[in-house]
């Protein structure tokens, strides 16, 4: 009988680079920057790492495929390394590999490191590439990330009878909150507060989403060192324990069948249920102290609040307006600014989310520090609302 991973693994060290348009830094610089901080934070030696999981989503524009990049860059001594890729959930996938490997009993100490170097393409947005194969462009529409999520906003507005003005106002408040938090994060990409008016009046990227509804396209890397829970206190007094790390992947029914309402992410809902079950959480709205969710777009964060059962279906607007998710609210979301402002170097994002949860639980989040958080959650999504991968990880003291 499978018994899951609850409290079997602890995070004992983390590192995260400055995110942003790092025209100053190449992939090697980013990987080393995150790793050096992570290793020092864990207080272990490089030779203590027994296996590593390396996440990069678009290696073809940065470092190439395979696991060799990590071994060669960090001069890891012939240990097993696996490269993982799962769209924008790649960072969480790297962490999942390391956590599950330790939980299995195969290793005592593992490394997860995710990196993305996006800003060598010469343009905004994500590279088109052949991400969906040669056939998809002949069959399906032109599609970008903002467009894919904009369609969920269109549908959300339609389903819940929000006129575009009210809908955009709701989303603007999501982004304004993240900008406020991002301004307090020294390592964030975008560190400027913006007003709701600025957000509403910004140029449209993909209707109804405007510039400030979209996250930053950033370079960066983040890393975690995990070990057996029973040995964690040997390394530090304040390790963070993994309560659950679940992942759900679309079955195709959202995109190809006609039952999906287009106004929620089914895999997020399912991953949430699985993660809560494993972590023993009965009431997510009350028990989850804080979360870093995959706010690639403002609408994603809004819908995720419902998918993760923080807000009832169709009611997130009330919680947003009441300030529930602000830094001083009842359930702070994106305390570090989220993808929106901290930035979104794809392969690193899932680990960056965990970096903030880890620092908050340790009381080291500086100006953003929440009062005695107990349970942190990361939600990392890859793909589009109609077909995706969602991981939900719950951590605590």
């Amino acid at each position: 009988m499978a018994e899951g991973i609850r409290d079997k693994v602890a995070i004992i060290g983390m590192g995260c680079t400055k995110f942003g348009e790092r025209f100053d830094a190449g992939p090697q610089d980013l990987i080393v920057e995150a790793f050096v901080e992570c290793l020092a934070d864990a207080g272990i030696d490089k030779k203590d790492i027994q296996a590593a999981w390396w996440g990069v989503h678009m290696p073809d524009i940065s470092v190439g495929r395979g696991a060799t990049t990590l071994g060669l860059t960090l001069k890891l001594p012939f240990i097993p390394i696996t490269r993982v890729e799962n769209f924008c959930a790649t960072g969480s996938e790297a962490l999942r590999g390391a956590v599950y490997a330790v939980a299995s009993g195969a290793y005592d100490i593992c490394l997860a490191l995710g990196m993305e170097k996006l800003k060598d393409t010469g343009y905004g947005g994500l590279p088109l590439g052949g991400g969906f194969g040669y056939k998809m462009p002949l069959i399906n529409s032109n599609l970008t990330a903002p467009g894919g999520f904009a369609m969920m906003a269109t549908k959300y507005f339609s389903k819940y009878n929000l006129n575009p003005q009210d809908g955009k106002m709701m989303l603007a408040k999501v982004s304004a909150k993240s900008h406020k938090n991002g301004a307090l994060s020294p390592k964030a990409h975008l560190r400027k507060e913006v007003t709701v008016e600025q957000i509403i009046n910004a140029p449209i990227i993909a209707w109804p989403l405007g510039l400030f509804d979209c996250c930053g396209v950033s370079d960066g890397a983040a890393a975690a060192i995990v070990c057996r829970a029973d040995m964690a206190k040997k390394f530090r007094p304040d390790p963070v324990y993994v309560k659950s790390l679940q992942i759900a992947v679309s079955s195709g029914e959202e995109m190809m069948y006609t039952k999906w309402d287009g106004a929620h992410v089914e895999a997020a809902y399912r991953a949430g249920i699985a993660a809560y079950k494993e972590a023993g959480i009965k009431n997510p709205r009350e028990e989850v102290s804080m979360a870093e969710v995959h706010d690639c777009f403002s609408i994603t964060e809004a819908v995720t609040m419902e998918d993760l059962q923080f807000s009832p279906r169709g009611k997130v607007k009330e919680d947003i307006e009441a300030g529930r998710f602000n830094l001083d609210g009842a359930q702070p979301i994106q305390p570090d600014g989220g993808l929106k402002c901290f930035g979104h170097p794809i392969g690193a994002s899932g680990l960056r989310m965990m970096y903030e949860m880890y620092k908050q639980l340790q009381g080291k989040a500086d100006k953003r520090q929440l009062k005695d958080p107990k349970i942190g959650l990361t939600h990392n999504m890859g793909g589009f609302p109609s077909m995706n991968i969602v991981s939900v990880c719950i951590v605590g003291k």
Partner: protein, 480 residues
């Protein structure tokens, strides 16, 4: 007796006001023609317009009986890869169809129609679809730039249930060099207009008319309508008098509202004539190229049964101003337009995929589960209905001819597009199934969830590196 069983037409939605052109081009001289011209959207070409006209023509017809497809154009997309074959695939015709391209002269449309008529008369073919379309590009500010319009006509020919009998024909061939374009050239060359008028139109059209009248012992007064493809407006009027036609007998040449549509021109006029025809009417058609084809038809009682055709009338009513000449130049790739560094990236074109999955890509044929009836596009082997999941219980199911409604949409400024924003969304189809497709011919500001759409065969993207124009199906939102 061989005749026309059905007809259809396509005129692109966008119209370019020649006054707008004149404002941009005044430094080069005056416009030779007033009014507006129909211009293909950036994702239309002669192939896609032929498909649109054919869809109009085949609505309600039994496509399974079509065993011939002749396509005429002077603006073929491919010069090696049969364009008619792409059209047959888009229409999802049987593979046991005789497909052929007729090209190189503006009289190729009538040549295709007469060849189809003869093939049916001989018993070689039973039911032949004839499509004619042109999307010609001319030098900026030249005569053709002003006068040419884009459009298509299609006819289904056969022996039964005909609405107009093809009674007889007369053809001439002259190596008359009015317009020319060498292999590999994009823009055509035109000789002096006065020469074309006096030594061409004014000479060959009367010759073809009198040749036909004499051959079948007819008189010009017998005809309710005479169609002659003369692209010069004043010469067209003058020819009416020369031929001894009353103004009622002269079929409107569509020059002021569509333009000279090349091979499609006389055949689009024929569609327009049939729309107003009564049983017993005699109609004469004269094309013009290097010489002329002339033929005449007698309208039958079945004409009263023709309905649900968009035809020329419906297409003329469905229009939107293009607004800017610059946009027209960008659409036709006459000027290089910035589509961003992002837009310079292009997905690899794999012709083995296009060939293997041709019905799926070009015919928009998906799959329908025989167990639960769920249609899916793209094709699935395992039913996507979570309560079914049947394996390999699929039968082919065409989405291209199914109406649908917008489930959700966006208008995207990040997606590379020559006419941003790129609008696209999920469509829920009548009869089931949902697919993510591009929208075209639409005003982003009018899009709404629940809006009705129909599918249209369009260019998806051009891959110049691999010499490919790649097609697929897009949704056209229906205004009104």
């Amino acid at each position: 007796m061989v005749g026309i069983k059905s007809y259809g037409a396509h005129i692109p939605r966008f119209r370019l006001d020649r006054n707008v052109m004149q404002l941009a081009l005044l430094f080069l001289g005056f416009a030779p023609l007033r009014g507006e011209k129909a211009v293909a959207n950036w994702d239309e070409d002669s192939v896609t317009m032929a498909v649109a006209a054919a869809m109009d023509c085949l609505r309600g017809e039994d496509c399974g009986k079509v065993d011939g497809l002749y396509f005429a154009t002077t603006s073929p997309t491919y010069s090696l890869r049969q364009n008619a074959g792409i059209i047959a695939a888009a229409l999802d015709l049987n593979t046991s169809v005789r497909a052929a391209d007729f090209t190189d002269s503006t009289k190729s449309g009538t040549a295709a129609l007469l060849a189809a008529s003869d093939a049916i008369a001989s018993g070689s073919l039973e039911s032949c679809l004839v499509c004619a379309a042109d999307c010609r590009v001319s030098k900026v500010g030249g005569n053709g730039d002003y006068t040419y319009g884009d459009g298509a006509a299609a006819f289904l020919l056969g022996k039964e249930d005909i609405v107009a009998r093809i009674e007889g024909s007369y053809s001439t061939s002259h190596d008359f060099v009015d317009r020319r374009r060498l292999e590999g050239e994009r823009l055509e060359h035109m000789w002096e207009e006065r020469f074309i008028r006096d030594a061409g139109y004014m000479k060959f059209i009367p010759e073809a008319v009198s040749g036909l009248v004499k051959k079948y012992n007819l008189t010009i007064k017998e005809f309710s309508k005479v169609i002659y493809a003369c692209a010069f407006s004043s010469a067209h009027s003058a020819l009416g008098k020369t031929l001894g036609l009353s103004p009622e007998q002269v079929q409107d040449p569509l020059l002021g509202n569509v333009g000279d549509t090349g091979v499609a021109h006389p055949l689009m006029m024929l569609v327009a004539a049939l729309e107003d025809a009564k049983p017993g009417d005699k109609i004469m058609v004269v094309s013009f190229g290097q010489g002329c084809d002339s033929f005449y038809l007698t309208v039958t009682e079945n004409i009263k049964k023709m309905k649900d055709k968009r035809g020329v009338k419906g297409n003329l009513a469905d229009k939107a101003p293009l607004g800017s000449y610059d946009k027209y130049l960008a659409f036709r790739k006459q000027i290089p337009a910035e589509v961003g560094i992002r837009g310079e990236e292009m997905v690899f074109t794999s012709f083995s995929i296009i060939s293997r999955d041709n019905r799926e890509i070009n015919g928009m044929v998906g799959a329908k589960c025989k167990q639960c009836g769920t249609p899916s596009y793209p094709v699935q082997r395992i039913c996507p209905n979570p309560d079914c999941g049947a394996v390999d219980q699929m039968e082919p199911y065409r989405f291209a001819d199914k109406p649908g409604t917008i489930f959700t949409y966006t208008s995207d400024f990040l997606a590379p597009c020559i006419d941003p924003p790129a609008s696209y969304g999920f469509i829920d189809y009548e009869g089931g199934g949902r697919a993510l497709v591009d929208f075209t011919d639409c005003d982003p500001n009018t899009l709404k969830v629940g809006m009705p759409v129909e599918m249209s065969f369009r260019i998806k993207y051009t891959d110049e590196k691999r010499a490919a124009v790649n097609y697929g199906w897009k949704a056209v939102p229906i205004i009104s």
